[in-house]
């Protein structure tokens, strides 16, 4: 039953908005989307490899299988909008305009990384690009994202040029209290925010049906009078159009929205997870729905791309990523001298700058 419903919703969203592939402008756009999807794919595969080669430490969660979602959502955002994501954030960071080399450098923990090596994989951040993080605590990004929308209301009027916030979360994250409290505030205060559930069907190993009493997650908006829509997360156009429509409502009517993007996780939860708990059918279904080859094939079938164009695009992506790795490799580690520089934004008397072997009391 939940698949049927979802299909209807997907159908509408896609049909109503998709532009004819014929139009030249549209074709350029479609090509650019494939270019982006190809870059995210190449970047994530390389990140996976670099982790295996111990160039990257800590936790590392990839967007593999979610490229259509990443590209569709970021295509819908304007520069003035704010984006809050989860720890599965590499693709979003790059699509928001961070240099692949700076993102790779962050994974390598280098001083040239987007946050100078302080955050790593889970904490990509760029104030200028208005990507306000990468968050590793499940649900932790939702209240701050909601507060960013509150600040927009505080400072500016609604309208087509107004700012809006997009907040990503996973399917498993709809079960945490912060989701409930935040959506209630957004509904109550009419905040310009679009909550996007990237439903890749799994938490770590737990399927949606094993975690959510209402597995049709888009329906959960109703508890806050927030409209929910389910969209095919493997179709970048459907994703973009649904996100645009929701952002428009946020900007112009100051109404929050809830989008559920049906997608798949191609690999394990993180790079170290072999995902043995997944059935062959499940893995095959995910592979069968891999959005990158699918979109590539579609554009070729529609005459938007030739095989040769597509190969060229993939080669470019690979070049970019190779350069990123070289840059990250050559970049210096942050200096231990800066260890205490970022604890406080306002300098303060008696802040500790003690290294582990130093005494607690240094009398001046």
């Amino acid at each position: 039953m939940h698949l049927v419903e979802s299909e209807t919703v997907m159908a509408t969203t896609s049909r109503t908005k998709k532009k004819p592939a014929s139009s030249g402008q549209a074709a350029t756009e479609l090509r650019s989307y494939y270019k982006r999807m190809s870059l995210v794919r190449a970047f994530e595969l390389r990140a996976n490899e670099m982790y295996a080669r111990a160039k990257i430490g800590g936790y590392c969660h990839l967007n593999l299988g979610e490229e259509a979602t990443v590209v569709g959502l970021t295509a819908a955002l304007d520069d003035r909008d704010y984006l809050f994501t989860t720890y599965r954030d590499h693709g979003y960071a790059i699509m928001r305009g961070m240099e692949p080399s700076a993102v790779m450098a962050e994974l390598f923990g280098k001083s040239t990384g987007v946050v100078g090596g302080w955050g790593g994989s889970m904490h990509m951040f760029d104030m200028g690009k208005r990507m306000l993080g990468g968050y590793g605590i499940v649900g932790g990004q939702i209240p701050p994202a909601t507060g960013a929308a509150l600040a927009i209301n505080y400072r500016s009027k609604a309208g087509p040029k107004a700012e809006a916030v997009m907040c990503l979360l996973g399917d498993g994250t709809t079960n945490i209290g912060a989701f409930h409290e935040s959506l209630n505030l957004a509904g109550l205060w009419n905040l310009p925010i679009v909550y996007v559930i990237v439903n890749n069907r799994l938490g770590m190993g737990t399927p949606v049906e094993g975690a959510s009493a209402e597995p049709d997650l888009y329906k959960r908006g109703s508890a806050y009078r927030i409209e929910g829509t389910r969209v095919d997360g493997d179709d970048p156009i459907a994703v973009r159009d649904a996100a645009r429509a929701a952002l428009k409502k946020a900007r112009e009517e100051r109404r929050p929205a809830l989008l559920e993007l049906m997608s798949y996780r191609l690999k394990g939860h993180s790079v170290v997870d072999p995902a043995r708990y997944r059935s062959k059918e499940d893995t095959d279904e995910a592979k069968g729905n891999d959005p990158v080859p699918a979109f590539r094939a579609k554009l070729i079938a529609d005459g938007v791309l030739t095989e040769k164009d597509a190969d060229a695009i993939d080669d470019d992506a690979d070049k970019v990523v190779t350069e990123a790795v070289a840059f990250a490799d050559e970049s210096p580690d942050p200096s231990v001298d800066e260890l205490f520089d970022k604890v406080y934004a306002s300098p303060v008397a008696n802040a500790s700058t003690r290294l582990p072997a130093e005494p607690a009391v240094v009398l001046s």
Partner: protein, 337 residues
């Protein structure tokens, strides 16, 4: 008033907070108040009385009962440059928001490479003694004092409430602002005009030569009263008000004990792993060669605080307890007047 002769008034700690919030709301339109029942209800302890009426719902924002949600929302608004002053009804309820405070507000500036500031103030009263029973009577300030990235202030007088709240609101980091239920009606002299405290500094509020009492927040009222009593007997007690629990002003504490060579800590929280533990450890490291007696701590008994008045009273530290321990410390060193 003219600059060279500042006037002052005797007002309550509550009034000092209320007036300071009002002044800061007037000074900076990015400052806004957010919390449960701070508007229509005037605040559960009336700290925000009258402010909704005068500043409207945009500046004085009533929230649902969603501590994690609205504290996190305040954090997000601060990331965009607003200066939220959050009221959590009591410290006890801050536990529901603590992931946002400790895992988010405290970490963001460093973890995001210094790119974002979180100019946020979180105000709440701690403390027992009102027969509110175990869950509503806690002093867990030591939890926050342990966290880098946070600044933790604990004003003990109306004047400090004013100058430290101004400092907190104008600071670009998340500040935990610890009040105390028993202090709200305490009166004190508050100078007019702009006093902005320096965060990270303790203060010697009474000088003495024989023994140092270290305290903070509500404990200071008792500490000063007991110090006065000993003064009558000819025992000279120095009293240090920590004021800033984080950063901790170790120099001021150790300098005092190096002078008096005896120290007693008076704290409302529970002894084990409480605020006094760090103060005692600090003195042990910073005044070791000067100490004539063990540093003693007068602190609450380690039980979930009971509702029954006699039980609650027995479990909490009072003036008589401090006097007794000061005396024992003096005797331990054969102190002669």
């Amino acid at each position: 008033m003219t600059a060279n002769e500042p006037k002052s008034r005797i007002i309550t700690y509550r009034q000092a907070l209320n007036e300071t919030l009002r002044a800061e709301l007037e000074r900076d339109e990015n400052v806004f108040l957010i919390g449960e029942e701070i508007g229509v209800f005037q605040g559960s302890y009336k700290i925000t009385a009258g402010l909704l009426e005068d500043f409207g719902p945009k500046r004085v924002l009533d929230t649902p009962i969603s501590e994690e949600g609205f504290v996190g929302a305040a954090i997000g608004s601060a990331m965009l440059g607003l200066r939220p002053v959050v009221e959590i009804m009591t410290l006890n309820f801050s536990l529901i928001a603590i992931d946002q405070i400790v895992n988010h507000a405290a970490k963001m500036h460093a973890m995001f490479g210094g790119q974002v500031k979180v100019p946020l103030v979180i105000r709440f009263p701690g403390g027992g003694g009102q027969q509110l029973a175990a869950t509503h009577s806690q002093n867990l300030e030591v939890w926050y004092a342990h966290i880098p990235g946070l600044k933790v202030l604990a004003p003990s007088t109306p004047a400090e409430a004013k100058s430290m709240l101004k400092a907190a609101i104008r600071d670009d980091d998340p500040v935990i602002f610890l009040e105390n239920l028993a202090l709200y009606n305490v009166k004190g002299e508050v100078p007019d005009g702009e006093q902005v405290a320096e965060i990270g500094k303790a203060a010697v509020v009474k000088t003495g030569t024989d023994l140092t009492v270290v305290s903070y927040s509500r404990g200071m009222v008792t500490a000063l009263q007991v110090a006065e009593e000993f003064e009558q007997e000819g025992v000279s007690i120095e009293v240090v008000d920590l004021r800033s629990l984080r950063p901790l002003d170790r120099d001021t504490i150790c300098a005092s004990v190096r002078k008096t060579s005896r120290a007693v800590i008076f704290e409302d929280d529970m002894l084990s792993y409480g605020i006094g533990a760090e103060i005692s450890a600090t003195i042990g490291e910073g005044a070791f060669d000067y100490l004539d007696a063990p540093v003693r701590r007068v602190a609450a008994s380690e039980v979930p605080l009971p509702y029954s008045k006699p039980l609650e009273t027995a479990a909490m530290p009072h003036a008589a307890d401090l006097s007794r321990v000061i005396r024992e410390t003096l005797d331990a060193t054969r102190f002669k007047k």
